[in-house]
Amino acid sequence: MARDSSKFNKASSSKARSGYALRLAKKPKNQLDDVYEFSTDSRKLGRRAKIGMDLDRDEDLSGGVPDDEEERSKLRARLIGENEDDEQIDSADDEDLDSDAAFDESDDDQYAGFFKKVLPSKAKAKTNTVRFPEVDLNEDSEDEKMAELSDEEQEEDSDAEESGEDDEFIDVLDVLDGRGDPMDEDDGQPPKRPAPPPAEAASDSDDEEEEEDEDDAITEDDGLAASDEDVDADALDNLHSFVSSLPSAPSRKRKSEAGPSAAEPSQPARKRRVLKETGETGEENEYRPHTTGSKLALDDFLAPLASQPEALQALKDSTKPLKSSKIRTLNAPLPTRAQERLDREAAYEQTKQEVDKWSATMKRIQEAEHLSFPLQAQPEGKTSAIELAAKFQPRTELESSVDRLLKSAKLRDEDIVQTEENMLKGSSLSVEEVAARRAELRRNRELMFRADVKAKRVAKIKSKAYRKIRRREREKVDEEDSDDEGSNLKREVERARERATLRHKNTGKWAKQMNGRAEFDEDGGSRAAIEEMLAKGETLRRKIQGKGSDDESDDSDDGLDDEEIRQRAFDELERLKQDDEDAAANNEGTAKGVWQMKFMTDAMSRKQGEADKEVDDFVKEMNGIEDAAGEAEPSSGVAVTRAGGRAIYRPGTADQPKASSSKALPEASNSIPADGANPWLDPAESTAKVAKKKNEVVISKDSKATDKAKNKLKKKQAKASVGVAKAQDDAVVHIDVNNVLNLASKAPTEAEADDDDNEEVTLQERKLDMKGKGKGKNVAFEQRDLVSRAFAGDNVVQDFQELKQREMELDAPTEIDTTLPGWGSWGGNGTQAPKPKPHLIKKIAGIDATSRKDYGKGHVIISERVDKKAAKYQVRDLPYPYTSKAQFERSLEQPVGKEWNTRMGFQKATMPKVTKKMGTVIDPLNKLF
């Protein structure tokens, strides 16, 4: 029953807070915090919270505005969760609002005790309780009045009156309205419960809850005391309760000190402690059961109905919500403005969330370069061939007949696999057949590549022959050097080095090491090294066997001389040719099918021709080498190539730049075809000169330093002697007979040209001649002629300059003095000339001479006047988005039109921002989830 007793205590405390005491008790609390101050979230309240502090008109009308804030706040409409999201009705508030407290004396005033069913016990108690002098008499008088007014009621409820407990009775209306709290702990209040000091009530509701435990202890004592108490000892009772309350005071004090400032203001109120009479008078009878310890519960009322279980059950069900301790009185609704604001905020949150779902989409649409409506078109899937085939139904006659055929051949999709398998099963090849087939394939391949193979072989023969000859030559040269000591020594050293490095064997320490490392070496560096080593070993082995490094294994013709090598190559070619012919003869009959077709045969013959040509070339070249080898040393330093009967001389790299230029010269001059038709080529002297000059340049990279130096020196000398030579040359040329003849014949040729000959051609020819022999005198003559012609017009230049001067003056900025002479100045003798008046001088903007476009160009006048008619085609001011002239001009830089762009460029530049099909309805976007 500890819980019960605690409830008791609470009930008693709240009970104690009725009437004046209640108001009094609440005073300090009000000082603590206003209802609106209570709200922690001041942000949400905003300015409107203040407005809520005022009372409604109804409330105003309802008589006295309660003095203390608590009362007023009670009057004000309030909703759970107004200020805080998780606000709950705190128990203290709830307790305060028991039916009685909510409907206290002030209301009685107004409603003339209409709702007062029961006389407050105080009326009765007044007679037999000892009252402290501080108790407001006014209250009592009211009570008295009330008592008088409800006299009849009093009589009717005399039993109740006797019991003196008003709170035990529940107004049914209230219950139905949900206002009254039938299950309120007050109901079960013990009659002799001493009133706790108001200070306790004054403490904060939160504190109260915390205090509960402590209170329990106290009230237990109280309860015990009360149970011991006799009814008739009223005074004693009071005293007892007073005394019993005393020891608990310090603990409460401690409590209040521990709590926030809430308890402190209550301390002055303690002085005026009102110990209200709560005890009961009268005998205990059937109407006033002895209620020690147990509280009157709803079940007690329902007990008489036990005989009717159904009805009882129904009633129990209906009263179930009343039983719940959570059910409290509802607060009054918030003021509409506050309520609306809250609603708006909540609604805003919701809508914001909802709208935010669209934000990415809308941003995309806004920023899109191009929109094509409908935006949410279904992606048109591509129908695959399989899909089409599956759907196919033969409709036309042709289709159905084809289908029938396929069906009969079992080649339709359904049974084609089966058919194929059957066919495969049925076919089996014999060995002969396979062999024949392979042979045919091979033949085909051979046919296809015969020309290629032949070309390859020819190339091989060719290169072999070349190499052999080359090697022979080199050996010849080497032989000359080989007998000297130095080279021998050198070779020995080289060999020793090779052996020393041990890089020619796979068994060496190094090689093993490298092999071990190979697996770690990812980039293959060691592998390369090993390969290098193996290659070296191979070459060494070859050397030991007396072979060249690049010789083929079938090199059996070592002892042969060039002629024989050549002969051998030719033989080989001959053999090749023979083979070829044989093969062709063999294939003559067998070729069939594709090979018989014209384009194939054509292609093959073409390829064959190419290969043959190569052979011919080789043969020719071999002969050519023979000639060249016979005539000129291959090491002459001048590479001579023949192309179409003309020899081209260019410096070539030679192993031995020993070749004397004098030796090369005659060949060069010989090789140039003497062409009489070309006048520039026939004088032998000039060609000789050219050749000489060319030979001087024959210095290759690998020529010796001495050669280079010599060449340089030669060049210098030549340069120095050029001037002298030129002078001499000119002298010689001027006395040239031909030239004299040319000059002499000038007049007649011109005369001739007038008739029909192409004078320009002759002139040009002559000019060319002149150029070859230096500048003639007729240039000077032309100059003089030109000068004389230049002044054919009279004063042209002068006129033009005057014109330009005029123009410049016209365009120059001018100042016009608009002073009227005589105005604003004195006349007569001795007067000073008036000063120039700046405000009368009109300045006309213009362009001064130096900033003109034609400044410094004497032969041209460029008009600087503004083309006013064309000004309309220009833009006056910088258009909006651009922030500089350059940006704007770049926007015009590239023309957009079809005429200046490719089709793609035009389409890209003129792509519309929005495209839609004509006449289609554009549906709003659907939100997809």
Binding site: A368, E369, L786, H839, I862, S863, K885, Q894, G905
Partner: protein, 591 residues
């Protein structure tokens, strides 16, 4: 080509698209199905996506995101369009070709016409023709597509014909002096400068108009894009007749007497006239005076021609002082090249590919491009490309046939067409001038050309001026103009928001950086709308409505009083005594 390669090389460079997919919001659309559903239809179709080329200019320095995006898009678009154009050059498969010789010793001018005709193809060889005609020196003119030829003999023989098919459109004997002939927009009309007036005939030779305003014309030119027939006559008047409306547009008095040299710059539609005093003048319909006057020769100018291959950059003039000069029309810095032509006054003409024909004396010389454009001082003839003697003097006109390697020379005994390899443009633009156009295409083009007609007042020396920013008025520096009435450019300048990264330092005062910057800042400070933001003023501005508020009135009065007091103080300090304003103050001279 690069773009093609880039497209093919998928693993290569990372491609940047300007589709919003890259730039757009991509925070959480992965889960947003609505977003995904619109993604396809809000992006640029794949085929039209602009691939940003490497060299596209980027505007990273611009803070305004919208503008930056816009400009970047634009520059990408521009450079891609250019790249596409370059790619499209591949499609121009026709090669101009030139005569080339193997050795240095060989000369192209040694090759004669007979040899050329022998060695060229049958079709090309047909260009070599001789029209032996009576009736004095002939002038000729081709249509723009090079298909039709109009000839006019000085004694009145006029004919137009399709020279390729040999069909004669009309042949007239006008019985009076004909000085020039020109086709109008196509072969359906032609104008003849006759003894007294200019006449317009149609294709069949029916006289349509007698332009009596064009008196004693000597030369005619037709501006195809503007539909203007320009003529200049013995009286020295340049007249423009609009052939689409029939109105005489303008007439300019050259004040330089009779003029026999006239040509148009096809690039900017400016008419070039050569005068007897050796000047060449450039005219537009807008200006009553020549835009440019050039003292080209020391004697009368006999012929003028503009190089169409370089966008009208080079002009060649020939004078009766028997010199030929090449000028650079962009800067007019003296002549690029000059040489003496033999045989007195020359007729010159520039071909589509930039071959210059000079007909003087009894020969036609052709010079080719790189050498005639290179600056050479002194009187040196450029290397001759080819030459052809025509004994029938005088050679009165030279015309290259468009899109053909043919030069038609009008002379005393008719006309002769010679082959000039590499003279004509090998690739024709059929929307512009189609040598193979049929009747329907011709009609279409006529209508289209009329619709696309450019207004004559859009003719200027610089054809790209249309749409450009007009130069600021000279009074822009006037600091008295309030901020609100400044132009946008000036406002941007004053508020420091202008993007001056691309201003070339030549026209701005680039040096004295710090100094000028400081000065500009100071000016900006000065020009800022100072005092507008003061709290008192703001208050008063709010009260400026028709409400007479005692407080506002009081405040105003107080301000007035303060002002007055200040003024008085200043006056006291200056003059020592407070001077009453007199009625005569109004006559005080503003200083």
């Amino acid at each position: 080509m690069d773009s093609l390669i880039a497209k093919a090389d998928a693993l290569g460079k990372k491609r940047k698209y300007y589709a919003p997919s890259a730039a757009g919001p991509s925070k959480k659309p992965q889960s947003d199905r609505t977003f995904q559903s619109i993604q396809k239809r809000t992006s640029v179709p794949k085929s039209l996506q602009v691939v940003t080329p490497e060299n596209a200019k980027e505007y990273k320095h611009i803070a305004n995101k919208k503008l930056r995006t816009e400009l970047n898009k634009q520059s990408a678009q521009n450079s891609q369009a250019k790249a596409l154009l370059e790619d499209a050059d591949l499609l121009l498969t026709g090669e101009a070709g030139m005569m080339e010789v193997e050795g240095e010793m060989d000369k192209t001018w040694r090759v004669g016409q007979s040899e050329m005709a022998e060695n060229s193809g049958q079709e090309a060889a047909r260009g070599r023709r001789e029209w032996k005609l009576d009736g004095g020196p002939y002038r000729s003119r081709y249509t723009r597509n090079g298909r039709h030829l109009a000839i006019a003999g000085s004694t009145g023989h006029v004919a137009t014909f399709d020279w390729q098919s040999g069909t004669l459109h009309t042949e007239l004997q006008l019985q009076e002096t004909c000085r020039d002939i020109t086709f109008l927009h196509d072969e359906s009309h032609f104008a003849v400068a006759q003894k007294k007036y200019t006449f317009i005939y149609d294709r069949d030779g029916v006289e349509l108009h007698c332009l009596k305003a064009h008196i004693e014309p000597t030369r005619l030119e037709f501006l195809p894009y503007h539909w203007l027939l320009a003529s200049v006559g013995n009286a020295g008047y340049l007249k423009y007749q609009d052939t689409s409306t029939g109105q005489l547009l303008t007439e300019h008095r050259t004040k330089l007497g009779a003029c026999t040299a006239m040509t148009q710059n096809i690039h900017n539609a400016v008419i070039h006239l050569g005068h007897h005093n050796g000047t060449v003048t450039l005219w537009t319909p807008n200006l009553p005076h020549p835009a440019v006057q050039l003292l080209a020769h020391m004697g009368p100018v006999s012929s003028v021609s503009i190089d169409p291959s370089t966008g009208g950059r080079y002009m060649a003039t020939a004078g009766k002082d028997s010199t030929v000069k090449v000028w650079d029309c962009r800067n007019w810095k003296g002549c690029v090249r000059e040489w003496t032509s033999r045989g007195g006054q020359a007729e010159i003409e520039w071909s589509q590919r930039g071959a210059l024909a000079v007909a003087a004396g009894g020969t036609v010389n052709v010079y080719t491009k790189p050498s005639i454009h290179t600056t050479v001082h002194g009187n040196t003839q450029p290397p001759l490309y080819m030459t052809h003697p025509i004994p029938q003097r005088p050679l009165s006109s030279v015309r290259f046939a468009p899109f053909h390697d043919i030069l038609t020379v009008g002379h005393n005994a008719g006309l002769s067409s010679i082959l000039v390899p590499g003279a004509g443009e090998p690739n024709f633009d059929s929307t512009e001038a189609d040598p193979f156009e049929n009747k329907k295409a011709r009609r279409e083009r006529e209508v289209k050309a009329l619709l696309d007609k450019i207004q004559p007042d859009a003719i200027m020396l610089d054809p790209e001026f249309v749409g450009t920013l007009a130069p600021p008025p000279s009074a822009a520096e006037d600091s008295t103009i309030p901020f609100a009435r400044l132009s946008r450019m000036d406002r941007l300048k004053v508020s420091g928001k202008i993007d001056d990264t691309e201003m070339n330092s030549s026209d701005e005062e680039a040096p004295q950086d710090a100094e000028s910057k400081a000065a500009r800042k100071e000016e900006r400070e000065k020009r800022k709308m100072r005092g507008k933001g003061k709290s008192m003023k703001r208050y008063l501005r709010k009260q400026r409505k028709n409400v007479i508020d005692p407080r506002a009135v009081a405040v105003r009065a107080k301000l007035e009083k303060q002002k007055e007091q200040k003024r008085k103080e200043i006056e006291l300090r200056n003059g020592g005594e407070v001077r009453k304003p007199s009625a005569l103050d109004r006559f005080k001279r503003p200083s």
